[in-house]
């Protein structure tokens, strides 16, 4: 396994990392907000509606209107809730979503031009924290993010919240196994947990993408990713028709907004992981356009699936994850191992 050429890269300073962190926070929150707009538009079109239209051109300023509404809404804490946990839970969801993004290659690296005072010549890396166990860290962080819904549902003294958090636990126990096992086979092939190594492993064009070697793992990871981000076939946590709003029933204003931003940031993270691990990642020559297209495709796929498919029952999710997906993932890992050994 060839190592990444750390020596040839410019020196990464803490200023660069800080700039990158601020960039991620600003741009991903903005994209998450824009994602809600895209979601409403795409869902509307798929149901032959128009979506937001009247606020701004093509309804684009609907985002701003929603933001103003969220920020100015009263922040209600229910009387019998465990106040501290109730207030901390949304922060867990939002924070873990962004912490996970720290180890993910979000945009290509660049150097700030030298004519800018103070920050000139600072190298801003593609990954804020280029860990050699990037995938492990990201998956762990996204798993830790499930503490948000879990604690939120249990702290709010609401039956729907309790059901929502119980479903969180069910979902968490089910898909997390599949996520880990499905991504294990590509990790075995690449021999590294670093996203940079994954990217360089697939640098040889479309034919070297891991999706051709690991189609089963790709499908499994996609399914588990949908469960991880609470997207529609597996949106048991807050399905309106059944549990009002699940864990988010008692939340209002910006605390609810933090859950929302966390969910959309998670969608972006899962899209990036799928793109980097299976679809070749960010190619060098395309100015990050390739990764953008791939991430956009996965994001669109999530909306597309939401428009088309009904969601499953909790017992069906457990059945699917434990009895179908996990055996397939294990078999996939074993076969990959045998093929590698032979």
């Amino acid at each position: 396994m060839e190592t990444t050429l750390v020596e040839t890269l410019p020196h990464v300073t803490w200023v660069g990392v800080l700039i990158k962190a601020i960039l991620i926070l600003a741009i991903i929150s903005a994209i998450a907000g824009f994602g809600t707009f895209i979601e409403r538009k795409v869902l509307a079109w798929m149901q032959r509606r128009q979506g937001p239209l009247h606020v701004g051109p093509y309804g684009l300023l609907q985002l701003a209107a929603d933001g103003i509404k969220l920020f100015t809404k009263e922040d209600i804490v229910p009387q019998n809730a465990n106040k501290f946990i109730f207030m901390v839970a949304p922060i867990i969801t939002a924070a873990t979503a962004f912490i996970a993004l720290a180890a993910v290659p979000v945009f290509p690296d660049f150097t700030i031009p030298s004519w800018i005072p103070l920050l000139g010549d600072t190298f801003v890396p593609a990954i804020a924290a280029d860990l050699n166990i990037g995938i492990l860290f990201v998956l762990g962080m996204m798993a830790a993010g499930l503490y948000g819904p879990l604690l939120a549902g249990m702290s709010q003294a609401n039956k729907w919240g309790i059901i929502g958090s119980a479903r969180t636990a069910v979902q968490f126990l089910s898909y997390e196994v599949v996520t880990g096992l499905s991504i294990l086979a590509p990790i075995m092939l690449v021999g590294s947990l670093s996203f940079v190594d994954f990217n360089s492993y697939q640098a040889g064009g479309i034919t070297s993408w891991l999706i051709w070697q690991q189609p089963v793992a790709f499908v499994l990871f996609l399914i588990a990713g949908f469960a991880e981000t609470n997207r529609t076939p597996f949106d048991l946590l807050e399905h309106e028709a059944e549990v009002v709003s699940g864990y988010a029933t008692e939340y209002s204003g910006m605390r609810w907004g933090m859950f929302f931003i966390g969910e959309y940031a998670n969608m972006i993270t899962v899209s990036i992981i799928a793109a980097v691990v299976f679809l070749g990642g960010y190619s060098e020559g395309t100015l990050g356009l390739a990764i953008l297209l791939k991430v956009a495709f996965f994001f669109f796929l999530m909306l597309w699936v939401r428009a088309a498919w009904p969601h499953v029952r909790p017992d069906q999710l457990m059945w699917l994850c434990w009895k179908v997906l996990m055996p397939i993932a294990v078999i996939n890992v074993v076969i990959t191992g045998i093929v590698m050994m032979v």
């Binding site: 795409v42 079109w45 798929m46 149901q47 032959r48 509606r49 088309a308």
Partner: protein
């Protein structure tokens, strides 16, 4: 066919047809086969295709359901009973009402009030005519009983206002003299809406 068939509640004795739902699996192997078959059958992608087709049609073939309501309106049925219109004679432009008072008599919620007198030509003239829209139930009896087709139900269904009384001024209900050519004749009870043909669609039973 008599009523007996419907009154028979003993399920199984009627001539119901059973749908063909296939055979449910009995053994474990059959169940496994069913799962495997359903997994690779790709029925889910049919759903994806359907919504994608709907989106493409909505975007590029203008197949949208949305009516941007305050800016565009659907044609409403001629049977719709909205705020009343008082029609005019097309020849003279004079209002059609002859002051017979039948609408006032038949009004079941007693909301029509009218007063008449003889004008200088000894012709009966309506001096007062109000409909109390706070009480009107829009039953349509007044329009039905009117011998001259003078009072009809119009198309003004947007009746949000500070005072409902503001809809009931006789001059406002009267069709304007300068727009007499736009005055629509009452189609009568049972008339179909102008876009009835477009609204006929095949029942979406096929998948």
């Amino acid at each position: 066919m008599g009523l007996e068939q419907f009154k028979n509640r003993n399920v199984g004795t009627q001539n119901y047809k059973t749908l063909d739902v296939g055979v449910s699996p009995q053994t474990g192997m059959e169940r496994f086969k069913q799962v495997a078959k359903r997994t690779v059958k790709g029925e889910l992608f049919v759903g994806l295709g359907v919504v994608m087709k709907a989106m493409v049609k909505a975007l590029f073939a203008d197949d949208m359901h949305t009516v941007k309501y305050p800016f565009e309106k659907m044609p409403i049925s001629p049977r719709y009973r909205a705020i009343h219109d008082m029609l005019r004679l097309l020849e003279s432009g004079h209002y059609r009402c002859i002051g017979c008072g039948l609408c006032e008599k038949i009004c079941i919620s007693n909301c029509i009030t009218m007063d008449t007198r003889y004008d200088e030509n000894q012709r009966k003239e309506v001096s007062e005519y109000t409909i109390n829209f706070g009480r009107c139930i829009f039953c349509g009896y007044c329009a039905e009983v009117c011998p001259e087709l003078a009072i009809v139900h119009g198309q003004r269904y947007e009746t949000a206002s500070e005072q409902r009384a503001s809809f009931s001024i006789f001059e406002d209900m009267l069709s304007p003299v300068d727009q007499l050519n736009l005055q629509q004749e009452y189609q009568g009870f049972g008339a179909v809406s102008p876009n009835a043909d477009e609204n006929i669609k095949q029942t979406p039973l096929a998948y």
